[in-house]
């Protein structure tokens, strides 16, 4: 065995273990946070906590209106952003000619994803709350969250459609399909898992955001469920912010309990996305 060979083997071993260590270190904080929140928050989770209104200045009772609020906001975001986002993605991926204008649109959409969420919040305040006069409401907040979510949905949906082989389109057209028939019967069904994954990841981000809804739809304390789209609402992320910073004598248990509820809400969506992806991969016919 010569020396350079031994050296290469040593490098290989070192490299392998070093990379493994680094990977472990990057995962560690995430796992630590989740474990910590579960340990600290789990004792707070009772049926009452999940289903009751907050009482005694939020120091007792439950987080039911915040759960419902976050659910409504997420649903509202889906209603606006999914059809718009998927339609835009279809246009960009399937119809738009490949020219400077289309490239500009695509770059703009990618850059929209990088805008700080508080900027979306202020934009929503200006456009929906004040100019369109929706007031601080579920409607205004959902629309604001939708605008924030759109770039994520558009780019993942576009990517999913582009990954459908071009040959399917050519064959479909050659068999007398129109462009729309090809999209509807071949491209969309094949791209659907990818699109759904993008939709869920986008909505997941919307569900956890505080800044965009801060000025547009959430309220500090509302001990009843919202009655209409034009009502303001409580929501989990903002509720966490409030009980962590603005309520003196707040029991730590309730703070962690609320964080745990939001975490489960978001991770649950993530799990659904993973499930859909796995299932689609197993059933794929190409």
């Amino acid at each position: 065995m010569n020396r350079s060979f031994t050296r290469a083997r040593l490098q290989e071993m070192l490299g392998n273990n070093l990379l493994r260590l680094i990977t472990f270190l990057t995962v560690l904080p995430v796992v630590a946070i989740i474990v910590y929140i579960v340990i600290k928050g789990a004792p707070a989770i009772t049926w009452e906590f999940l289903t009751q209104m907050p009482r005694s200045g939020m120091r007792e009772g439950g987080v039911w209106p915040a759960i419902v609020g976050t659910f409504y906001l997420t649903l509202g975001t889906a209603v606006f952003s999914v059809p718009l986002g998927v339609a835009a993605a279809i246009y960009i991926a399937e119809y738009a000619p490949d020219n400077a204008w289309t490239r500009l649109i695509r770059i703009t959409i990618i850059n929209l994803a990088g805008i700080p969420s508080v900027v979306y919040g202020l934009f929503g305040l200006g456009l929906f709350v004040l100019f369109l006069n929706f007031g601080t409401s579920i409607l205004a907040a959902s629309m604001t969250l939708s605008i924030m979510t759109l770039p994520v949905i558009i780019s993942t949906a576009e990517e999913a459609m582009r990954s459908v082989p071009q040959s399917f389109r050519t064959v479909s057209i050659s068999l007398g399909a129109t462009r729309w028939q090809t999209i509807w019967r071949i491209v969309l069904p094949q791209a659907l898992p990818g699109i759904l994954t993008g939709v869920i990841l986008g909505l997941e981000r919307a569900a956890g955001e505080t800044a965009p809804i801060l000025f547009t739809g959430v309220t500090f304390f509302l001990p009843r469920l919202p009655a209409s789209l034009l009502d303001s609402t409580m929501a989990l992320p903002y509720h966490i912010f409030v009980i962590s910073t603005s309520v003196p004598g707040m029991p730590v248990k309730i703070q962690y309990g609320t964080v745990l509820v939001l975490l489960v809400f978001v991770l649950g969506m993530n799990l659904i996305a993973t499930f859909i992806r796995q299932r689609a991969r197993a059933r794929r016919m190409w």
């Binding site: 064959v171 057209i173 028939q181």
Partner: protein, 251 residues
């Protein structure tokens, strides 16, 4: 009878890679017309012009006429969907659509709005039998189309084109990805089908061209060098370039 006539047909792509210059010839009905020549000569381009699949590509310029049953299909008013139903195409690699064997064949009919199960069943069986595939897949109709072998997939693609009962079938190197047994099956099949259809075949080598051709056309770098009856053209070519290619001096 002349099924398809090219009249001073020119086409040029934006990237200028493949183009065709001043093509004049006709394709007879109920015969196999072979378009052959080295790669990049414009054979596929010509096929894709006939059913207007070139509409999907970056075509810089077309001129001249292509008459199908006496009507110019390059006319902007042409109903391209209707045209593609009459002129089917099979590509060099089998491309089963991501569905079952059955759905692959029923797909073009469903596009036309046919929903009656009995009609679809009938058409699928007829097309699969015509492509000599029925006996091999009748008990696997509802399996994914990618589960059958490559040779079977290519006959499935043929059955899919036949399901529309077209007038013309174009085959673009249909056996280039197949083993000799599957190749022989497809070749034999087309010899039978020419009784009913007009067949345009781009072979992937000269031997296949010579075997299959009732009529042949030799393409070289965008130019139609020579046309003629198959036997004559391969045994006694008029143009030096044709004889050089046929005898294997280049290509």
């Amino acid at each position: 009878m002349d099924k398809i006539v090219f009249d001073h047909f020119n086409i040029r792509y934006e990237d200028g890679v493949e183009s065709l210059r001043d093509i004049n010839f006709s394709i007879r009905a109920n015969a196999i017309t072979v378009l052959f020549g080295p790669a990049g000569g414009g054979k596929s381009t010509l096929l894709r012009a006939i059913n207007r699949l070139n509409d999907l590509a970056d075509v810089a310029e077309t001129s001249g006429r292509i008459l199908f049953n006496g009507v110019d299909i390059l006319d902007p008013k042409t109903d391209v969907v209707e045209l593609r139903r009459k002129i089917g195409i099979v590509f060099s690699r089998p491309v089963p659509l991501p569905m079952t064997v059955y759905q692959n064949v029923s797909y073009p009919l469903e596009l036309m709005g046919e929903r009656r199960k009995s009609r679809l069943d009938e058409a699928v069986e007829r097309a699969l039998k015509q492509a000599v595939l029925w006996d091999e897949v009748y008990d696997r109709l509802h399996d994914p189309a990618i589960a059958i072998s490559g040779g079977q997939q290519q006959r499935l693609c043929l059955a899919r084109a036949l399901a529309l009962e077209p007038e013309v079938i174009m085959l673009d190197e249909p056996t280039s990805a197949l083993d000799p047994v599957s190749t022989a099956r497809i070749e034999g099949l087309m010899q039978e089908l020419k009784e009913q259809y007009t067949i345009v075949w781009v072979p992937h080598n000269v031997q296949q061209a010579a075997r299959m051709a009732d009529f042949a056309a030799f393409f070289l770098q965008g130019e139609l060098v020579e046309t003629g009856e198959g036997k004559t053209l391969f045994i006694n070519p008029k143009d030096r370039r044709t004889s050089d290619y046929v005898t294997g001096r280049f290509g």
